[in-house]
């Protein structure tokens, strides 16, 4: 069960990603985002079962592969997911940087513009 090894690895990836995401600092959160993406991708890859070393490519002289290949579908799914998570990551990173520029902090504790600390009590009259 080669999947067991990867399952454990995915668990580690996920845990590390969560730990990083729980940080207060935007750059660490960004690192968490990358690791989270990898955790998700690896988990799809693992869930689709693993085959060693045989890529799902049909040799030029055949119409269908002779030997069992790795499962192509999860690969396609992961590919899509990689691209998407990369796009999101790039956006988030630039967002974090812009937030840092304009909010002068990379600490989420201090990012209190949208929901300010001193939130006024609404009027109690009519």
């Amino acid at each position: 069960m080669i999947e067991t090894a990867l399952s454990i690895l995915v668990g580690i990836f996920f845990a590390v990603a969560v730990y990083l995401l729980l940080s207060k600092h935007t750059i660490r959160i960004m690192l968490g985002v990358v690791v989270l993406g990898n955790a998700a991708n690896l988990s799809i890859f693992t869930a689709g079962r693993l085959t060693r070393e045989v890529p799902p490519v049909i040799p030029p002289d055949l119409y269908v592969p002779e030997i069992a290949t790795a499962n192509p579908l999860p690969q396609a799914l992961v590919l899509t997911a990689i691209v998407i998570s990369f796009s999101l990551f790039a956006f988030l990173l630039v967002l974090a940087w812009r937030a840092y520029q304009d909010l002068d902090t990379d600490n989420t504790e201090e990012m209190r513009i949208a929901e300010p600390k001193a939130d006024p009590l609404p009027p109690l009259s009519y």
Binding site: M1, I2, E3, T4, A5, S7, I8, V10, G11, F13, F14, A15, V16, V18, L20, L22, S23, K24, I27, R28, L31, V34, V35, N38, N41, S43, T46, G48, R49, R52, P55, P56, I58, Y63, V64, T69, N71, P72, Q75, A76, T80, I82, V83, I84, F86, S87, A90, F91, L93, V94, W97, R98, Y100, D102, N107, E109, M111, D119, L121, S125
Partner: protein, 790 residues
């Protein structure tokens, strides 16, 4: 049963709203005289309903329907029997005069058109309410009365008191409306009936249902709030903030009686139970007394009348709940009487206010000469209210005492309550009708004189109607009282009472009432002071409580929201991941989906190294004590992942992963040049413990999930198909790519949409900057070079 009258009834339901829509434009053109035109609508409706009196009096109900929401079994249906028809007549009849009165009262007001509009909508809602048959239609119109009265009470919106009263009315009656809705739905469940007429045919079904208690409480919630029963009575006097025509309309014929209407309507199927006959009289009786005493406390004409309305409503509820035939007859008679005299008196109060400039009874007097017609109308109405012959109020009062009697301790108690309440109302009625007119002339803010016909027409006609109805009481009974009482009782009843008093207990009690009432009237100033002192001693009341509750809710909401939505990203993330961890683990443990411990794999040395590389990379990211190290370390785990993909036969993935990982690092490096670099965070131990726990549980959850999933046998059908036809049909040897561009090309289409959107969004982020508040200058392609060539 589809008759011509029915089509007209259908139209009647919309007519007031059409008139309401036209009112502003009409008023803009005709000024206050638009009242004459607009009054045609209620007058017409009155005539229409009057034309049905014969049919209904003969014991037949006029019903009809149109399709509305068949999917929900809801029809747009109406039901005109003695009860609803009498209400409809009162609403449209009084409505006619109210429209006219409004024209006179608010003559020259900038928003008279709007006012007409509101009052017509209100009338339409009220009319719809009483003639609705289907539950939901009933509910819709019920809520519309709340909403339109909200608008009317808040008409003078620049005053805070108006706004407060409007909100109060909306909230209290809105609350009741929701209870009513629930109640109706419960009844629907219990009986299967979706309309009132169908419900009335179910006989004992509701009473015997297990849901009766629930339905009872919910229906009472609706009725008591709407009809201002103690302890929900406070909104009604506050509603006096509305212009007087509104008060007159709302509090005489209409909205406040909606609750009574509801109770009367449901009496045949809900009444006659111990619950009904205990709770209703008790609340009604208390309300009667509370209303009476609070009325005495007041010196403002409108408020005095308003509190007596509360009292009257209490009386009506008490009678309706009492359950005996006579009680029902009494309720019916009193309801009609009250509509007529209270409408008239409110309008009188308005006229006094309008003409003399004050409504304070202590500052008014001697107006009889200046306003003889008004005085006459007021006097007649007050006599009816006092229960004196020869007015309709007398009939009602006689019937009341006849109904209650002294048959038991229970009925004796209510008889005493009724005597006290009626006496108080007697006193107030005469105080309103006599005090301002009799005695020496008092200087009033305005020089008082008789108002225009638009103003006095209403009170005069209503007062006249009180008299006429009593004079021709057999006819009145045959056409209105008996059909209505029969409808309320759910069985044919007969009413004989007339102006010719029969000697007996009722008459005696009437005399006691009058005597007591007169005594109170004479010492009104004194009583007022005493009650006032008592109330001050009590201090707190539901009215002030309303404000306190409201403020408490807002304050509490503010505090609670601040606690949960606290603006701290960390809280949000921690909670979210905690939930995610639970989502993995609870079903695994709770639903028996826990995997068996899987076989350990046999790995080659280099596979181990690659896996180790990934873990080392992760560790390095975690332990890196500066961020750049972390970023570089991030590259390691990325490469390791790519190598894993390669080792397990996924060259495309490895390929992409390498590229993406590299580009991620590149972008990180590009962005990092703009960040001031600081040390990475070190979390306090407690925080770290929490974070580690949450993170580990998440990781554990996903790992176990994967153990479980991979332990199942896998169905490779899709991939087999893809492999089979990849080359021979889709012309591609790289199956992964064929999936990407052909089998599942739509995914890829979405994927590139994401890529493009991300590019666009990042461009916007980079270019559009705060401070300058303008976009960063877009470099012109093929313009001057900015190269740094030496």
């Amino acid at each position: 049963m589809e008759t011509d009258g029915n089509s007209l009834t259908f139209i009647a339901l919309f007519l007031p709203f059409v008139a309401a829509a036209l009112a502003p434009a009409l008023t803009r053109r005709m000024g206050h005289k638009a009242a004459w035109v607009l009054a045609i609508v209620p007058a017409f409706l009155f005539i229409h309903f009057a034309s049905l009196v014969g049919t209904v009096a003969s014991g037949e109900a006029v019903t009809g329907s149109r399709n509305w929401v068949p999917s929900l079994g809801v029809e747009f249906s109406w039901f005109l029997d003695g009860l609803s028809l009498t209400f409809a007549l009162l609403i449209t009849g009084i409505g006619t005069f109210i429209v006219l009165y409004s024209g006179g009262y608010l003559k020259g007001h900038a928003h008279l058109g709007r006012f007409f509009s509101f009052i017509l909508m209100f009338m339409g809602a009220m009319q719809g309410l009483v003639i609705s048959d289907s539950f939901l239609m009933f509910f819709v119109f019920w809520e519309l009365t709340s909403i339109t009265s909200f608008l009317l009470i808040g008409f003078d919106h620049s005053r805070e008191a108006s706004r407060r009263s409007a909100m109060q009315a909306l909230i209290v009656t809105g609350m009741g409306g929701l209870a009513l809705l629930a109640g109706l739905l419960v009844i629907w469940n219990a009986t299967g009936a979706t309309s009132l007429s169908a419900l009335l045919e179910t006989d004992n079904a509701l009473r015997e249902s297990a849901l009766y208690g629930l339905a009872f409480v919910l229906i009472l919630g609706g009725a008591f709030t709407k009809s201002a029963q103690f302890p929900f009575h406070f909104w009604l006097p506050n509603a006096m903030e509305a212009p007087t025509p509104v008060s007159a309309y709302l509090h005489s014929a209409t909205m406040v009686k909606a609750g009574v209407y509801l109770l009367m309507r449901l009496n045949p199927v809900m009444g006659d139970t111990a619950l009904w006959e205990t709770v209703l009289p008790l609340f009604g009786g208390v309300t009667l007394l509370v209303g009476g005493f609070l009325a005495v406390r007041q010196s403002d004409l409108k408020l005095m009348l308003a509190y007596t309305t509360v009292a009257s409503l209490g009386l009506l509820v008490m009678l309706t709940g009492f359950g005996s035939e006579h009680a029902i007859e009494a309720a019916v008679l009193y309801l009609i009487a009250h509509s007529l005299f209270k409408g008239a008196l409110f309008m009188v109060a308005g006229i006094i206010d309008h003409e003399a400039g004050s409504r304070d009874v202590t500052r008014l007097g001697g107006l009889r000469k200046a306003m003889p017609i008004t005085f006459g109308a007021a006097l007649v109405a007050a006599i009816s209210m006092g229960g004196l012959p020869p007015l309709f109020g007398f009939l009602a009062k006689e019937e009341i005492y006849y109904a209650l009697g002294f048959a038991s301790v229970w009925s004796a108690l209510f008889t005493l309550v009724a005597i006290l309440g009626n006496a108080l109302m007697f006193a107030i009625g005469f105080a309103v009708a006599l005090k301002p007119f009799l005695g020496p002339e008092v200087k009033t803010p305005n020089h008082a004189h008789e108002g225009p016909p638009l103003l006095w027409l209403g009170p005069v006609v209503l007062a006249g109607a009180s008299l006429l109805a009593a004079l021709v009481s057999p006819l009145t009974h045959r056409l209105f009282s008996i059909p209505m009482a029969s409808a309320v009782a759910g069985e044919p009843l007969d009413i004989y009472i007339s102006l010719i008093p029969s000697i007996g207990m009722p008459l005696l009690l009437s005399l006691v009432t009058v005597a007591l009432g007169y005594a109170i009237y004479r010492t009104l100033g004194d009583v007022r002071a005493r009650v006032g002192a008592a109330l001050i001693a009590i201090g707190w009341g539901p009215d002030r409580g309303f404000d306190q509750v409201l403020r408490g809710i807002v304050r509490g909401a503010h505090r609670l929201t601040g606690l949960i939505q606290n603006g701290r990203m960390e809280t949000y993330m921690t909670l979210t991941f905690a939930v995610i961890a639970l989502a993995f683990l609870v079903p695994l443990v709770g639903a028996g989906e826990m995997p068996a411990f899987p076989q350990l794999p046999v790995l080659t040395l280099y596979e181990i190294v690659v896996l180790a590389l990934a873990v080392i990379g992760l560790g390095a990211v975690l332990y890196a004590d500066d961020r750049l190290t972390a970023i570089v370390s991030l590259g390691i785990q990325g490469f390791a992942v790519a190598l894993i993909f390669l080792l397990f036969g996924a060259p495309d993935l490895g390929f992409t992963q390498f590229m993406v990982e590299t580009l991620s690092v590149v972008i990180l490096a590009l962005v990092m040049t703009r960040l001031k670099l600081a040390k990475s965070d070190h979390r306090p131990t407690r925080e770290k413990a929490l974070d580690v726990t949450v993170a580990s549980l998440c990781g554990l959850g996903l790992m176990l999930a994967l153990f479980k999933v991979t332990s199942l046998t896998f169905d490779p059908a899709l991939s087999v198909f893809f492999t089979e036809y990849s080359r021979v049909i889709a012309h591609g040897r790289n199956i992964v790519n064929v999936i990407l561009v052909d089998y599942r090309g739509v995914d890829t289409m979405g994927e590139i949409a994401v890529v493009m959107a991300a590019g666009l969004a990042i461009l916007a982020l980079v270019r559009v900057r705060l401070g300058r508040r303008v976009e960063h200058a877009e470099p012109q392609v093929a313009s001057e070079s900015r190269e740094t060539v030496a």
